[in-house]
């Protein structure tokens, strides 16, 4: 610790005004403040300041994401192993939880490394170029992006989407705190529209599903989407109803635990709830957004239940089950609550969350080309959030003007 401090102090002059490496000062500063909370003292205003800072806030979100990450690693292994049949490479009759986890660990780790290395490189490049400090925003984005990807996404695509997200999603607006869209969702939207074959269909959600015959990696939503095909016969419908019944693979129980195919981090409701509790308890995540989005989704799904034709399983799936599949809850807890791109006023947050929930289910059900309605819904509401805030603030202004008139 003391040693680190001495080394930093020794190399610091090279990066300071007049030093050879002065242009790289933001990079040095980011490294130094990563290791040490700096010795700055308050120079104006309050003489004391709260212990919390942006680094702490961001790291708490990462901690809240860890249950999803670890479960996602295990589930990657589980989904793959559970579909192997005797004679295939790597087949064992029994797999321990550790086998599953380690298998997934080695599959997910490259995604995380690529996401952070590429994303932080772009951030540092912008910081050096614009001579400002490196903001901590990417710490969370860098973890969110791999968790929203299918396990077999090619690393170069991931890298490309990360670059797109940081540059177009964030830096062109002025960096952390200034962006309109959630960067992690921007990355996912980019890859979804640019390389749809790697982001949808039934062959991407389980490792090697596209190479090995007999492995099906359909997500619950993908399965439901096939039913709105005119060609689907009654037998298909009955088959699907079976998949969602209590002993099917997409049962409420399995969706709750998370042992279904899907993006790396989105499947387990339990893991997401643990994350949500961490965010809510520490006050980092907005309760207003989470609660109102949940209610919005429940409301829309319930309405569909009431009006659903008998054969439309997508609409008649029980409301709570509807929310447990796909990335609705993951998006609700970790994406919609992004304070920069969400509504910023307290009333606005409630409206924003509710509409996020309603739209997610609406898009999911009525436009099966986008089975991940959540992503599109949240991005759309990100764009609408400033408008919602505008009206909330305007109401306050009008109240004040009215008071002025009454007094006159």
């Amino acid at each position: 610790m003391k040693l680190m401090h001495n080394i930093l102090n020794k190399i610091k002059p090279h990066f300071e005004e007049g030093g050879k490496l002065h242009t790289l000062y933001p990079a040095y500063d980011a490294f130094e403040t990563f290791l040490f909370v700096p010795n700055h003292t308050s120079q104006s205003g309050t003489h004391i300041k709260d212990s919390v800072d942006l680094k702490r806030t961001m790291v708490l979100v990462i901690i809240a994401l860890l249950p999803c990450l670890f479960f996602g690693m295990w589930n990657t292994g589980y989904q793959y192993h559970s579909q192997l049949i005797p004679g295939m490479d790597g087949y064992q009759s029994v797999y321990t939880a550790l086998d599953n986890f380690l298998f997934g660990f080695w599959k997910v780790l490259p995604l995380i490394i690529v996401s952070y290395v590429v994303g932080l490189s772009v951030e540092f490049a912008f910081a050096v170029n614009r001579k400002h400090q490196v903001n901590e925003g990417y710490l969370v984005t860098g973890m969110l992006i791999p968790l929203t990807m299918p396990i077999d996404v090619p690393l170069w695509m991931l890298a490309l989407s990360v670059i797109f997200a940081v540059v177009i999603g964030k830096e062109v607006f002025g960096g952390t705190g200034m962006n309109i869209l959630n960067p992690a969702l921007t990355a996912r939207a980019f890859i979804f529209f640019a390389y749809p074959t790697k982001m949808s269909g039934d062959k991407v959600w389980v490792h090697s599903a596209d190479k090995l015959d007999g492995i099906s990696g359909e997500t619950a939503l993908g399965q439901l989407a096939t039913l709105t095909d005119v060609s689907s016969s009654n037998a298909d419908v009955l088959n699907s109803i079976g998949l969602f019944s209590s002993d099917g693979i997409y049962s409420l129980y399995n969706s709750f635990i998370g042992i279904i195919p899907g993006s790396v981090g989105e499947t387990s409701v339990i893991a997401i709830i643990i994350g949500a509790l961490i965010l809510l308890f520490t006050g980092v995540g907005s309760f207003r957004i989470m609660a109102s989005m949940f209610l919005g989704g429940l409301f829309m799904a319930y309405i569909f239940n009431q009006v659903a034709p008998e054969t439309n399983l997508f609409m008649s799936l029980p409301a709570i089950h509807q929310l447990f599949i796909g990335s609705f809850l993951f998006g609700m807890v970790f994406m919609a609550t992004d304070p920069v791109s969400a509504a910023q006023t307290n009333k606005g947050k409630i409206i924003y969350g509710f509409l996020c929930g309603v739209l997610s289910i609406l898009i999911r059900v009525f436009n099966p080309a986008y089975p991940e309605g959540v992503m599109v819904a949240i991005l759309f509401m990100n764009v609408m959030a400033p408008l919602i805030d505008h009206y909330v603030v305007q109401a306050n202004i009008n109240k004040r003007l009215k008071r002025l008139k009454v007094n006159e």
Binding site: V37, D50, S51, D53, V393
Partner: protein
């Protein structure tokens, strides 16, 4: 009237002043400091070497020559300290062994009308005690305020306990109120802390409207009270005055002399024996601080830790301050401070494990615990802002210097001190109070 405030927070610090008076010799040097009066440009009447009595005028306001400032003690003008651009920082008086008072005419309160009272206050140099909202400057004596506010309690961290200070008040406070209420056709509001038993001087006050304010800091801020009781619209002026200054005014009318003594609390974790002191306006802090501070680097603040000003161990008590806080200077780096559990790191949020021990009193130092960042977290200021404004929107309106938007968002209702808690809690370490001050100054400049 009962007002309940739910937003805000009480920060528990070490070093609450014990309810006893300490005896120390009177200070040798006293200072009247023009920077204590926001936006004041002083015009000197005295020069170095002049002999003054307590109550003799030292300087006046260049923009309003009726507003004058007098010497709190008798003695010789030892120095007139100047800063950048020859700005006058303080007028220092070396005091005599015994204070000689300037003799003012004996007044009969009953026979005085409003203008005569104001003239008397102006000529005695007592007028600067009366301040106004918006802007927090000295009141303009030619204004007609819509009401007058006196906050009988201070809710800020380690604040002096006025109920203790006013215990045993022998009618002086009531006499002061009788004078103050004459200044305004509207109501004079005396606001008490609903959560404690007010001193009888407060609870028994006559001729004023007594309001009980319940809730955490900033419930004691006069700006918060005004907002909930008689909010300021564009064009309104409300005057306010501190309870001890009411007594100073009363003493002038009773004894016909400028007796600017007051009681201050010496507080903070770096003070060996935090206690109350009787001092005279502008006293040097040397006597009360010597042999009473712990070792180590420290910061001496006139006022509270949220909105007071840094004065140093040789500094002077500020004109409007009734408290001196001494806290640890936090110029240390902390290895992975943002990552460790933080059982000892106090935070209003629950992002550190110190929430396990939220009732403990903390020795908070001046470390900023992080660097300034763009706004990311939202909804944080709202939890500590009992005034119905949108804090971040207002701050952004100030940053883009949009005066109409600032007015619409309610800048006339706020003062930097009302935002102090927001600034304390801010995750992005934004200098909120100085931004608010900048916005108010801009409006004052553009609209006058």
């Amino acid at each position: 009237m009962d007002i309940k405030i739910s937003k805000g927070a009480d920060i528990k610090l070490k070093g609450v002043a014990d309810r006893v008076y300490a005896n120390v010799p009177n200070a040798e040097f006293y200072a009247v400091q023009p920077p204590d009066f926001h936006l004041l440009i002083p015009k000197m009447i005295v020069s170095i070497g002049d002999i003054v009595k307590a109550g003799d005028l030292l300087f006046y306001d260049k923009n309003n020559d009726k507003i004058k400032f007098s010497a709190p003690v008798s003695g010789v003008i030892a120095d007139i300290e100047r800063g950048a651009k020859r700005k006058i920082l303080r007028v220092i008086i070396k005091t005599d062994s015994e204070i000689k008072y300037k003799k003012f005419p004996k007044l009969d309160l009953a026979s005085l009308n409003r203008n005569e009272i104001i003239d008397n206050l102006l000529n005695a140099g007592l007028w600067p005690f009366v301040r106004q909202r918006p802007f927090g400057t000295i009141a303009n004596p030619s204004d007609k305020p819509k009401s007058i506010f006196i906050s009988a309690f201070d809710s800020s961290p380690l604040a002096p306990d006025n109920d203790f200070i006013f215990h045993g008040d022998k009618g002086l406070f009531q006499l002061g109120l009788d004078i103050i209420t004459q200044l305004c056709d509207g109501t004079t509001h005396l606001n008490l802390d609903g959560n404690s038993n007010a001193a009888s001087a407060f609870s028994g006050a006559q001729g004023v409207q007594i309001n009980n304010i319940y809730g955490p800091h900033p419930a004691g801020n006069v700006g918060v009270q005004i907002h909930h009781i008689n909010p300021i619209n564009k064009g309104d002026v409300v005057w306010y005055i501190s309870p001890q200054d009411v007594v100073t005014i009363a003493r002038y009318f009773k004894d016909a002399k400028y007796d600017a003594s007051k009681i201050i609390a010496l507080t903070g974790a770096k003070v060996k024996k935090p206690r109350y002191y009787r001092v005279i306006q502008g006293a040097s802090l040397q006597n009360i601080l010597s042999d009473n501070l712990f070792e180590g680097e420290k910061r001496v603040i006139s006022g509270n830790v949220l909105s007071g000003s840094r004065v140093g161990e040789n500094g002077y008590i500020g004109f409007y301050d009734f408290q001196v806080s001494v806290i640890t200077e936090g110029n240390y780096s902390e290895f992975f401070g943002w990552l460790l559990p933080g059982f000892h790191k106090y935070s209003l949020s629950r992002t550190f494990f110190s929430w396990l021990n939220s009732q403990k009193e903390y020795d908070l130092d001046t470390n900023t615990h992080g660097e300034e960042r763009a706004y990311v977290v939202t909804g944080q200021y709202e939890s500590y802002m009992p005034i119905d404004v949108f804090p971040v929107h207002l701050i952004k309106a100030i940053l883009i210097e949009d005066i109409e938007l600032m007015e619409n968002l309610g800048i006339y209702e706020v003062d930097p001190e009302d935002f102090a808690l927001c600034e304390y809690a801010c995750t992005s370490k934004v200098p909120v109070q100085s931004i608010i001050r900048r916005g108010l100054d801009l409006i004052k400049k553009e609209c006058s």
